[in-house]
Symmetry: none
DNA sequence: ACTTAATCGAGACGGTACGTCACGTCTTTGC
DNA sequence: GCAAAGACGTGACGTACCGTCTCGATTAAGT
C-alpha cells in the first residue's frame, strides 16, 4: 500500500520513517555512536531531510523518543492498592528505560550544560507525567487512609522515579524487579505509610 | 625565565600538566565539546603523549578526575550530630559536582553502554567512599540512639548521595543548599530517625 | 498592482522570462557559478519548467544566447573598404563577446569533451555567420583588386575571428580596438593584400 | 619499493602521488566532471591532504599540469629550417594539448572571470615559453635571410600557437598534422617569408 | 459559461560532492 | 631515547545544488 507503488514519501510519512530508523540505530549502536548519515541511510532519506527538520542529533532523538512515547501511551488505571500500583508504574518505567527512550536520556544527560530552557523542557516532559501518576496513586492512598497526607510533597511523590532514573543512569541498565521491590519496601513505603 | 631552562617535562611532571589542561578544558567547554587536540595544545604536549597514557578521552578524564580527587581529599570527621554531619557531606558532594568531577561524571554517563566492568569500577569509585562515610555517620547515630538500626541497609545509606546524583544529572547543576535541606528533612531524616 | 492580476505566464512568454533571467545571472556570476535554482528563482519559475525545456545548464544557456543573438541581428552592409569593413565586423564581435554570448562560449568550452555532434553544431552556429560575412568582404575586395584571390581560402577568411576568439578565451575579456588594429595591420591585411 | 613496506607518504612523495592521480582522473572524466573525492581516493589520500595544499580544484590541476610540464621539458633544438622547426614545435604543442594539460586548459578557460592576476599568471606560463621558442626560430630565419625582420613582432611570433589554441578550444581536440600544414603554408609562412 | 486537462509556482525529496574538523596513528626533529 | 610538533588516512559533519517528484492553483480549450 504505502510502499509498492508508493510515490516519494513526504511530510509526516517521511518523518515517521526517520523516527523509526533513528530509534533502531539508537538501539543498535547507542547514543554516543549514533551517526546522522547512518540514520539517513537506514531511512533511505537524504541528510538534508533530517537537517531540515531538526538542527542536530539531540533534537532528532528527542523528537523520536517523544513520538515513540505518545504512540504507546497506555493510560494508567490505579487499582487502589498503593504498593501494587507503584510497582506497576515503576515496572513500566524500567521497561521504557530499556528501550530507545533510555538511550535518548543517556545521550541527553551527556550533552547537557548548565544551559538552557531546553534542558528544563525535556526534564519536565519526562518528570511531569510520572509525578502526575504517583500523585494520583498517593491521593487514593490518602483517601483510603493508607498514605500520610504529608507524603504529597513533590519531592516524595517524585522519589521512586528519581531512584529509578539514578539507578539506570549510574548502572547502565534499568532496575530489576528485585531492586524495585527494595526501593518500595525499604524507602518509599515506610516513608509514606500512615499510622506506623 | 621559566622557559629557557625549563627542560622538557617527562613522566609524572608531564602527566600532571596534562591533567590540569584536561580539567581546565573540561570546565570551559564541557565533556561533550572536549577535544583531545585542545587538551594537548593547552598542555603544550603532543597528542601522542596523551594516547600513550590513556586509550581515549573517557580514560583520560577519569584519570584526571581521580587525580584531582585524591589531591584534595580532606578526611571527614563526624561530629555526632547525624543531620549536621550528613548536610556537611552532602554539601561537599555538591561542591565536587560543580567542579571537573561533575563534568566527568556527565560524560561517563553519556558514553555508558550496558557494557563492561569498566562501568562497575568507576561507579564503585564514586559510590563506595560515600557509602562508607554515611555508614559511619549512621553508626554513630545508632550508637547514641538517634538512628534506627535498620537504617544501615546499603540502599538507605546510599539514599542521600543517590538523590544528589540524580538531581545533578537531570538538572544539569548540583543541588542547592535548600534542596539538600529538603532531602534531609522530608526524606532521609524521617526514614532513619529512631523512636518517631 | 502588478501582482494580483498578473496572470501566470506560459509557453513563449515564460520562455522569454527564463532567457532573460538566465542571461542576467550569467552576466552577474559567470558560467561557472551559474545555478539552475538561481535562474528559476529570478524568473519566478519552477525548476521543473526549466528542465521541461532543456536537459541541462549548457542547453539552456545555448538557447538563451541564441535567442539574444537573433533578437539583435542587424544585417551587415559592406562599404567596399576592406579594412574598414573588417574592423567594423570585428568590433561587433568583441562587443558580442562582452555580453552573455561571451560567457556562454566560455562555459561551452569548459564543458566540451572530444564528444558529440553537439559541439560541431554550436561551433558552426558561431563560425559560419562570421565566415559568410568575411567572405563577402573579401569577394568585394577581390572584385575591386585590393584583395588577392587566393585569400578566399576558409582558413584565411576565418583568421580574424579566430584570433578574436583566442584572445577572448585566453585573456578573459574581448580584444580592445587597439588589438583589433594590430591584428588587421600586422597579420590580416599583409596576408590578403593584392599587389604587394 | 616505495609501496610495499612503504611507510606513510609525506611531503613531496605524497604530492607527486596526488598529481598523478589528478592527471589520471582528468584524462578519464575531463575537467568538468572532476571530483576532489575521486582524486583523493585514487591517490589513497585524505581530502584534507588535498585542501591543505591547494584551495580548490583549479589550483590543484594547475599545479599538477605545471608539474607534468616541467617533468618532460625536452629543450628544443632548432635546425635552422624555419618551416620544419615550426612544424616540429607545433606538433609538440598539439601532443601536449591531447594530454592532461589540454584538459586543464579547458577547465581553466571555463572558470575564468575578467578577474585577477591569477589569469595573467597562468596565461603567461603557457604563452611565454612558446613565444620564446618561436622567436628563436624567427631569429635564425632572419639571420639566414629566410624571414623578414618585421616578423619578430610578438603578435606574429605568437600567431601559430594562438591558432593551435583556438583550434583546440573550439574543436575540442588538438589540430591534426594536416591542419598544422595549412596554418603554416597559408598563413604563417606567407606572412614571414622574406623576399617576395 | 463550465468543465477538463494541461501547465505552472513552489519547493520537498533522494542524492552527490563539497570543504571542514577531529580522530587516533605515525614520522620527523630537537633536546 | 623520549618528547613536541604536526602530517597523515579516515570518516562524519552540516551545506549547497542537482534533477525528479508531488501538490494545489491557474488557465486555455473544448463543450
Amino acid at each position: 500500500m504505502t510502499d509498492s507503488t508508493a510515490s516519494r514519501r513526504r511530510g509526516d510519512d517521511l518523518e515517521r520513517a526517520i523516527f523509526e530508523a533513528a530509534l533502531e540505530e539508537l538501539a543498535e549502536v547507542g547514543y554516543a555512536n549514533l551517526r546522522m548519515e547512518a540514520i539517513a541511510a537506514r531511512a533511505k532519506a537524504g541528510k538534508a531531510s533530517l537537517y531540515k527538520r531538526w538542527p542536530d542529533r539531540a533534537h532528532l532523538i528527542r523528537a523520536a523518543a517523544r513520538h515513540k512515547a505518545t504512540e504507546v501511551d497506555t493510560p494508567f488505571e490505579p487499582s487502589g492498592d498503593v504498593r501494587a500500583d507503584m510497582e506497576r508504574v515503576m515496572r513500566r518505567i524500567t521497561e521504557n528505560q530499556g528501550g530507545p527512550a533510555g538511550e535518548a536520556l543517556r545521550g541527553w544527560v551527556g550533552e547537557l550544560r548548565a544551559s538552557s530552557e531546553e534542558a528544563e523542557e525535556i526534564r519536565d516532559a519526562i518528570e511531569q507525567p510520572r509525578i502526575r501518576v504517583f500523585a494520583k496513586i498517593f491521593e487514593i492512598g490518602i483517601a483510603n487512609g493508607t498514605v500520610r497526607p504529608e507524603a504529597l510533597h513533590p519531592r516524595i511523590v517524585n522519589l521512586a522515579p528519581s531512584l529509578l532514573t539514578q539507578h539506570f543512569l549510574m548502572k547502565g541498565r534499568p532496575a530489576t524487579e528485585a531492586v524495585i521491590g527494595e526501593i518500595l519496601d525499604q524507602i518509599v513505603m515506610p516513608l509514606i505509610t500512615a499510622g506506623r
